[in-house]
């Protein structure tokens, strides 16, 4: 699938999570996503960026603008080299948290996008790919 544009943002602090949200919002606006879809994707990005920061010891986001006529889309890949997720199915469950959060980030992010994939190797890191189509 043709990738029109690619960019990366490092995720190492709270401020970077804000940058991630701002960039995702800007690109979603450029692709003329509806306000609801913009908000959904930005919120999913916020969850996954914060997970990479808090659970994965920081990482980065790769953003790709996809062109698959007549659709266009945004793909976000969050990668970290943290401890990984031992049981992905469990982590995806609403309410499951190891960090005193609400435990709704992963499951919520999945419901906010069109495509969602987790690759995680304990001890190596986590890579979560989400795509939203317009």
């Amino acid at each position: 699938m043709p990738v029109l544009k690619e960019e990366t943002v490092a995720i190492g602090s709270d401020a970077d999570v804000v940058l991630v949200r701002q960039l995702v919002r800007r690109r979603a606006q450029e692709l003329r996503f509806s306000l609801v879809d913009q908000t959904k994707l930005v919120t999913a990005a916020s969850e996954l960026a914060r997970n990479a920061l808090e659970h994965g010891r920081g990482g980065e986001m790769l953003l790709q603008v996809l062109q698959d006529p007549p659709r266009s889309g945004l793909r976000l890949v969050f990668a970290d080299q943290g401890p990984g997720i031992a049981n992905v199915e469990l982590a995806m469950k609403d309410g499951y948290t190891t960090g005193g959060g609400l435990g709704l980030g992963l499951g919520g992010a999945k419901r906010l996008v069109n495509e969602f994939a987790v690759e995680s190797t304990p001890g190596k890191g986590t890579r979560i790919t989400v795509t939203k189509w317009h």
């Binding site: 804000v18 908000t39 959904k40 916020s46 959060g101 609400l102 980030g105 919520g108 419901r111």
Partner: protein, 284 residues
């Protein structure tokens, strides 16, 4: 790298006092905001610059300001530009500290080397490069300082931009604007709780019309605040949840079930008045 031979230290030594006087006159003439800086302070900075420049070039030549011999001089320049950055000087005014030294110095170079055209040309070239580099250093530090100043101002503004206002006797409102992240949310929520105690309010309205994203962290902060307020005997109403945000909250499966939510601040205010047992809307 070999240290190139330079006449500079000798000239600085011999004409030190005259150079200092010429240079200060040069800067006072330019007189933009230089008035804001005291002449005594300026004289001190210039004298120190001349001394350190002489020492640095005597040992380290003129070709490379990143050499360790230039360390004290670089530090002085950093201090000068930092203090000017804070005092609100423009970048060019700050860079002029170094650049205004060119003219007085070149006059002395001509005096000293005038008969030897080749030496004069070489030395002028080397000195120009040196001063340009030192000038650039001041600009870099200046920028960093300004960035730090701006960052600090932004932080201050963040705190200022979330005022807790008293809408009515016993009713507080907190209009939240912008990004709600850990630090800021913490500050804001604490302020609200303090104000509740201070004013003995029974209802607090948190209006999030100006918040672009509500994710699980923001939601958690909101719910904790609601819970803490409740412990202090105050009820919170969250208003201004826009349609797009309402949808994401549902997808995130965040349960706001036991929090009163209203579409806008006016509705929330009405509810608050009802809660306080006041049938009348103020002003009517």
């Amino acid at each position: 790298m070999a240290v190139s031979l330079t006449h500079l230290p000798r000239i600085l030594e011999r004409h030190g006092d005259a150079l200092l006087a010429d240079w200060i006159r040069e800067q006072l003439q330019a007189k933009s905001r230089t008035g804001a800086i005291k002449e005594g302070e300026l004289r001190e900075q210039c004298a120190e610059f001349l001394r350190l420049l002489r020492e640095a070039t005597a040992k380290g030549g003129t070709s490379d300001v990143s050499r360790p011999e230039f360390e004290p001089l670089r530090e002085l320049l950093a201090n000068v530009s930092r203090s000017r950055g804070v005092q609100g000087f423009s970048p060019s005014e700050t860079a002029k500290f170094v650049f205004s030294f060119k003219r007085p110095l070149f006059m002395r170079l001509r005096e000293e080397l005038g008969r030897d055209a080749v030496a004069l040309a070489d030395e002028t070239w080397a000195v120009t490069e040196l001063l340009d580099e030192l000038g650039l250093l001041t600009t870099e530090t200046y920028q960093k300082t300004r960035e730090a100043v701006i960052a600090r101002q932004q932080e201050e503004m963040l705190e200022l931009s979330t005022p807790v206002v008293k809408l009515w006797d016993g009713i507080l409102a907190l209009p939240m604007i912008g990004t709600l992240d850990s630090n800021r949310t913490q500050v804001v929520m604490e302020t609200l709780l303090e104000k509740i105690v201070e004013t003995g309010s029974e209802v607090a309205i948190i209006d999030i019309t100006g918040v672009p994203t509500v994710d699980t962290l923001v939601a958690q902060h909101l719910m904790k605040t609601v819970a803490a307020a409740r412990l202090m005997g105050a009820e919170c109403i969250i208003s201004g949840i826009r349609p797009a945000i309402a949808q994401t909250i549902v997808h995130l499966a965040i349960d706001l079930g036991n929090v009163i939510t209203k579409a806008n601040l006016a509705d929330a205010f009405k509810t608050a008045l009802d809660k306080r047992g006041m049938a009348q809307v103020p002003g009517r």
